[in-house]
């Protein structure tokens, strides 16, 4: 029943290629988070703007991002837009899909965080002569980012894991894509994917640890 022979050496010999893939995975995750955070701040601003069109736009984005599979979002960013003659590379499509997802989730986190900050904070800023934008930028935003910090690190972990969906749009330079290609070459399926899983695990753990260290530097209050 169980006559599979493990050949770890064969799989481990491919480790350098997999680590290169891991770098691409991290690159996508970091980019998608950086852009995602900025977009999420914009979406949060849209929601608070009181302007119907902007609110509708933000709500639609958040609803789709949170209530459809990430796979669908990445697929749409590649094959969906291709129907209209827009062609992105797998890397770009994956980045767009994950960024879209990140921004939606983060915007919702930010909205929750804002609710935890009393209105009197920005009122105090306004009464010191600040414009609404200044009060948001210097008083509300830093507090919001602190409250949303933990959910943000979760989303970062999520972004790392979501890169594995890239194979569906032909992505083959990230960790999962590289592993899949190596598997097709060598058929060391269990070994290769087990190693990939460990690399994923280590990356996300390091991110969690790094985030905690960063927090002690960022938030002294």
């Amino acid at each position: 029943m169980f006559n599979y022979t493990f050949q770890w050496n064969q799989a481990l010999a491919r480790l350098p290629q997999m680590l290169d893939g891991a770098l691409v995975t991290m690159q996508i995750a970091i980019l998608s988070m950086a852009i995602g955070v900025l977009l999420a701040i914009l979406l949060t601003g849209c929601r608070l703007s009181g302007i119907r069109v902007l609110q509708g736009f933000a709500v639609t984005w958040v609803e789709i991002a949170r209530n459809t599979p990430a796979l669908f979002q990445i697929y749409m960013a590649h094959f969906g837009v291709a129907s209209f003659g827009i062609h992105f590379s797998p890397f770009t499509s994956l980045l767009i899909g994950i960024t879209f997802n990140n921004a939606g989730y983060l915007a919702e986190n930010f909205r929750g965080a804002l609710k935890a900050i009393s209105d009197t904070q920005s009122r105090a800023g306004r009464s010191l002569g600040m414009t609404p934008v200044q009060a948001f930028r210097y008083i509300v935003l830093p507090q919001m980012l602190r409250i949303a910090y933990l959910p943000m690190t979760n989303q970062m972990v999520w972004a790392i894991l979501m890169t594995s969906l890239g194979v569906t749009v032909g992505m083959n330079s990230d960790l999962y894509g590289v592993t899949q290609d190596l598997n097709a070459l060598t058929f060391r399926t269990f070994e290769l994917f087990a190693i990939a899983a460990v690399i994923f695990y280590v990356i996300t753990k390091v991110i969690g640890l790094g985030a905690r260290l960063l927090a002690t530097r960022l938030f002294r209050y």
Partner: protein, 240 residues
Amino acid sequence: MIKIENVRKSFGQLEVLKGIDLTVEKGEVLTIIGGSGSGKSTLLTCINGLEPIDAGRITVDGTVVHDKSTDLNKLRRKLGIVFQQFNAFPHLTVLENVMLAPRKVLKQSRAEAEAMAIKQLGHVGLGDKVDVYPSRLSGGQQQRMAIARALAMSPGYMLFDEVTSALDPQLVGEVLDTLRLLASEGMTMICVTHEMKFAREVSDRVAFFHKGVMAEIAPPEKLFGAPEDPELQKFLAATH
């Protein structure tokens, strides 16, 4: 000079200010007393334009507060306001709390803003707390920091909205001492307060608000010594 002319203000069906007329001269200390819901706090937030008004006019040094062409952000530099809630910015140190608006609004250099902040924090007795975060301060200290923060903008007027109401009784004194100090230095002040002894002691004039109307205004000896308005008589009897 702050000139308030026939100001009316409603929240929905409820009219909270029913035609207020009041002039505060430069250098004057005016306190406003009255029961909850009498409109006294609302008047302060109308003066600095945080609340719109429905009718009438408020002018500060000749600038019409609720005129569309008025730059409220600029006007508010002249009008320091301190609220019942301290509204410390928790993510900034005491020094940074005080420096923020001078840096961003008045575009002062770091050195300039810091010198002013240290001066004002010393003024309110927080010279030794500049580098701590507000969470380490008592309520009274936080409120004094809020006063220093407003003073750092070099306002022409200070508005105090029940600044001791959220404090533990033993902390009220230190904040009132700060207000007394400002009054003695000639700061123009409007203080909404429930502290009758304080009102009697520092005010040039005391106004009594009742149900959105300024029922009586007089120097403190007169207002507390020989109140004419029957509601004021009742109010004073209840608070003594």
